[in-house]
Point group: C2
Chain length 344, copies 2
């Protein structure tokens, strides 16, 4: 009981438009795809017919004929985190309006999960994939992945076998560390993010290198899991150490937890301890005290990744390695000179 072509029910077809406009279906197709060699008069008539009928081309048929799907896939970690969600925002914003952006979330970045997600997207025939892959394991998983669709990674480290865009975490951490050193602190402690994340590693490197370059002692590195909870827990350990006068945190949430722990142990900020965060989430300006932090432009990162992907899809293999985005230091009240300078 299929509907006869051109009959009343169902959506209008291209032939219906053609009939109404008094042309062939091919001419309608030409108008739709902005092909040359269509007279202005004909084009106008076709357009009118399209409007009158409320015609909308069938995406599947077009895809079948052209081989292009106008769909992109974004694979991401927990989009509840500030970074990833901001990136997603940028990605969606920069996507061409006629493209569909599909999302898939990954719990773990092992080869298996990643492969499943990619396979799923390939099944939907996306034209390209963007991977928000900040974890070390993701890089390894990527290597073992053979894909025929363009893939770009966000902040995947420089060693990644795929094109990627990054933020200069190293420079950001260095700048923050330098700042506290310049304030007069003998050294700076670091409450890092999970070591499985590349961002954590890079930020830790920037911190370490800066200390070494300044001839400062490099304290043991402690790892949190990005959450305020972990910052709080570790913060209690840090707060108990009198030699701790300055702490660089891997992100602002952990900084919040740390601030809380310091407050609970009666150590004032920035009086006794200076704290600097990372990310500049919108709430950072209202922490107790307002947090000095390293601002990252995640939105821009997303936008760049999308542009890079579209370039690759369109075959524009311009070999611009895309300079890493430079973060800014936002100075607020949480860092200050130590109470006493020059004490050994």
């Amino acid at each position: 009981m299929k509907q006869a072509a051109g009959s009343q029910p169902g959506r209008p077809l291209m032939v219906d438009v053609a009939r109404l406009a008094g042309v062939s279906h091919q001419t309608v197709s030409r108008v739709l795809n902005d092909h040359p060699h269509v007279s202005a008069k004909t084009r106008a008539e076709v357009l009118a017919a399209i409007r009158d009928l409320g015609y909308r081309p069938n995406a599947a048929a077009r895809t079948l004929a052209t081989g292009r799907t106008n769909a992109l896939g974004v694979i991401s970690v927990d989009n509840t985190l500030y970074g990833p969600s901001s990136m997603l925002y940028g990605l969606e914003q920069a996507a061409p309006p006629n493209y569909m952006v599909a999302i898939a979330r990954l719990d773990a970045f092992d080869r298996q999960s990643l492969s499943v997600a990619v396979e799923r997207f390939l099944g939907q025939a996306v034209e390209g994939i963007i991977m928000v892959a900040p974890q070390v394991a993701a890089v390894e998983a990527l290597i073992s992945l053979t894909t025929d669709v363009p893939l770009v990674a966000i902040k995947c480290g420089t060693g990644a076998p795929v094109p990627s865009v990054t933020i200069d975490n190293l420079a950001g951490a260095a700048r923050a560390t330098r700042y506290m050193l310049d304030l007069g602190h003998e050294t700076v402690h670091h409450l890092g993010g999970p070591p499985s994340w590349l961002d954590s590693q890079e930020r830790a490197d920037g911190w370490r290198q800066t200390l070494l370059a300044a001839g400062a002692e490099v304290p043991d590195l402690v790892y949190g899991d990005w959450s305020a909870r972990s910052g709080h827990e570790i913060g209690h350990r840090l707060a108990a150490m009198p030699e701790v006068t300055a702490v660089l945190c891997g992100n602002d949430q952990m900084a919040l937890g740390l601030l809380r722990a310091l407050a609970e142990q009666g150590r004032s900020v920035p009086g006794d301890v200076s704290v600097v965060g990372f990310d500049d989430i919108p709430e950072a300006a209202f922490f107790p005290p307002p947090l000095t932090t390293v601002r990252q432009d995640f939105g821009e990162l997303g936008r760049r990744a999308m542009h890079l992907l579209m370039d690759r899809i369109r075959g524009v293999d311009r070999f611009v390695p895309s300079m890493p985005i430079m973060p800014d230091l936002v100075v607020r009240a949480s860092a200050a000179p130590p109470k006493r300078r020059g004490s050994a």
Copy 2:
């Protein structure tokens, strides 16, 4: 220069699989779609051929033949906010694995923008649309929208002309207000979210009704914009009013800003002023002081919306209006009895 069917280059086709397995392409199709009437032996052979060839069915062709696209659209506001991003998480989680979830972000919820977004999804032939539409204007825009695909809305208020799932904001606000009243506060002030959001209205209603029921005075309502910044700004006004001893905030971010403002003006929490938030974001436990707040299960909300949509897509019009999700009051340190009871 098209490739001949079955020749070396390009992806393998169904006929290639059929040839290798020694059956017809239709039998391959049957295996792929779990149709009955395929012998175990044949099925195994086909499966083996599929594996050997690395065959993957062409989604567009399947869509063209079946009319089903296995794609869903999610229209949402700023996914940087905690609520929306958590919901997106739940949505993605509950989506059938063979479905593609596409996203579109809206800056404003006027008829125009909404129509554009929906139109775009319709162009991609999604099978259903989920709208995270917490704003009043969205409801109006929805009414003027004629869609032939199933649409469900999240927290769209009860007056919405489409099926929707909601959180019981009213009960949550009532519970929080009641809690502070029971603590001994004469009345409770409310720092609400933007009045254009339904959540704001409902929470304000819950607050107002509870005060009225208790015979307490209903103070003027003040509106923020969900941001800590707005909470801070308005907080300064509130902090200057000595009669303010208890404040219910529309969300946790504004509560943070308020806490900051109170601290800046030397009013202690909960000593001088009690504060209760809304949402229970992960950071709330580490605010100064830890925030008593109304926890909302946004993830569950997303999951329910997805289930509801899938039911409608599959034609299961079970008329379950889906009880609103009941929020919990999480008691922490930011609310306490007032210093002096009974003072007028």
